[in-house]
């Protein structure tokens, strides 16, 4: 098989085209958001919100409302409950997060088990990339475009919020609004990525790309390019691998993301465990040669 056929053959199936468009869109939107999440220290929050949207999505399905609406409501509900448990008891934040999101996730699973449905709602949990319909794809594209636009237009404000919220206050901005906006976008992004990899694996797309980019550059503006490019490549690679190896597509995408992170962790020229030493040895050799 020549390489071009290798790339084109899967695309002769409509379902593969939809899967590719869905996964690349989800990968890009998640990756851009992940740049802020890893810097603010909200990785666990990303995990929590992406799981906690499940009952919201199921209830939205039941009443025929947009998934995004249910997701955003339950996303904020999760954050509010976490805040209440942390602030009004001796429970620390990580425990509060663990209690709230697993309980809401469990509620989602129970709701799924009692909801008669045409489509298998279990697909929300593990994703069903190969079963994405044109309508699903349209929803992913629209939500993805909205989320990405807001993130990119307000990127400097979000970065200021992440870096120095006190300064944001001092120049008359409202950091609470910026934080809430990020959380709302997190819930929307979770909906976008549900189709691709499912609730359980969304968090990988929300953390790994930003973390990988952070190991490669000292400029936030470059992270916003590196993370989505890396994540889109991982999505494409993972999908093709799953096609030819006949493995789970969502899981394969996340595996590729994890492998890219591992390579960067080892070989990043400035931050990599091995790459840093190689760079130092090269400089020494150059000094010795002079």
């Amino acid at each position: 098989m020549n390489p071009l056929d290798f790339l084109l053959e899967p695309l002769s199936y409509d379902f593969m085209v939809r899967a590719l468009a869905t996964s690349v869109t989800a990968a890009i939107v998640c990756a851009v958001l992940s740049c802020w999440l890893v810097l603010i220290g909200w990785s666990l929050m990303g995990d929590a919100v992406s799981h906690a949207v499940l009952p919201g999505v199921v209830l939205a399905y039941v009443v025929g409302a947009p998934f995004a609406l249910g997701a955003v409501i339950f996303g904020f509900l999760a954050v509010a409950l976490i805040g209440i448990v942390r602030n009004t008891s001796r429970i620390k934040e990580d425990a509060a997060i663990g209690i709230v999101f697993t309980t809401l996730f469990a509620l989602g699973i129970v709701l799924i088990s009692v909801t008669p449905s045409q489509t298998d709602l279990n697909h929300i949990i593990f994703g069903n990339l190969l079963g994405v319909s044109w309508a699903d794809l349209a929803q992913v594209l629209i939500l993805g475009a909205i989320t990405l636009t807001i993130l990119l237009v307000k990127r400097r404000d979000f970065t200021l919020y992440a870096f120095d919220a006190t300064h944001a206050h001092a120049i008359g901005l409202n950091p609470k609004v910026l934080g809430a906006a990020l959380l709302g976008l997190l819930a929307l992004t979770a909906v976008v990525a549900l189709q691709a990899v499912g609730v359980v694996l969304v968090v990988a797309l929300l953390i790994i790309p930003g973390a990988t980019a952070y190991l490669l550059t000292d400029r936030f503006s470059r992270m916003l390019v590196i993370a989505p490019v890396m994540s889109a490549l991982a999505a494409i690679t993972g999908l093709y691998l799953s096609y030819y190896l006949d493995t789970a597509s969502g899981g394969m995408i996340v595996l590729v993301e994890g492998c890219i992170f591992a390579l960067v962790y080892l070989f990043s020229p400035t931050q990599g465990v091995i790459g840093k030493r190689l760079g130092a040895m090269k400089r020494q050799r150059m000094l010795a040669a002079q």
Binding site: L39, V153, A162, T166, H167, H169, A170, G172, R219, F220
Partner: protein, 246 residues
Amino acid sequence: MSAPAIEVRNVTVHYGDVLALDNVSLSLAPGRIYGLIGMNGSGKSTLFKTITGMLRPDHGTVTLAGQQPALARKAGAVGYVPQSEDVDWAFPLSVRDVVMMGRYGHMGIARRPKAADKAAVAEALARVELTDLADRQIGQLSGGQKKRAFVARGIAQGATILLLDEPFAGVDKRSEGTITKLLRELAAEGATVLVSTHDLNALPKLADEAILLMRTVLLQSTPAEVLKPENLARAFGLDVTVGDAE
């Protein structure tokens, strides 16, 4: 005497049941440097947070640059230099990026820098002598340079009120001298500078006036007067003399 730049009147702040500021009143004039001293937990940070708008006082009022505090902040009057331990120094931003954040209040919704913003940032960087280091990641500066970068952010912003939270912690003596000189210049141009510090020895050189805080203002006077052992003892609760405090 001109109208005060910072006017704090009968401000009380609680954290839950804990009283952090108790009926604090202060009046700070333009063109002067004020040293804020007190123990850990005396309310120094709380006072800063009240002025920057992080905290809303339970009682009392704050007036900044003769305006409602929210208006003064929106106009860019308040510059803030955070404590070192409150900053994530590994954050992927250059020195120039950080100084540019001082201009955000003057920009449109997407905060896209215009020529005037870039010029103001370049000027501020030159002013604090960091032009050559402008493209370094912020954590790759020395302790003193880091402080100057944040002062440059206030300059680029056009702040007339500059708040510095422990700017001399972890900074060597020479850098402390450079920063002090810079602050004196800014005050001479009309800025009001409020500096919290543990370095009592350097206070007379730095500040025109000192404020002794212990949840409430114990004393606002010349540094020499505030540094008298009997006055320090009131704030620190034990017999402290200049030279061995902290």
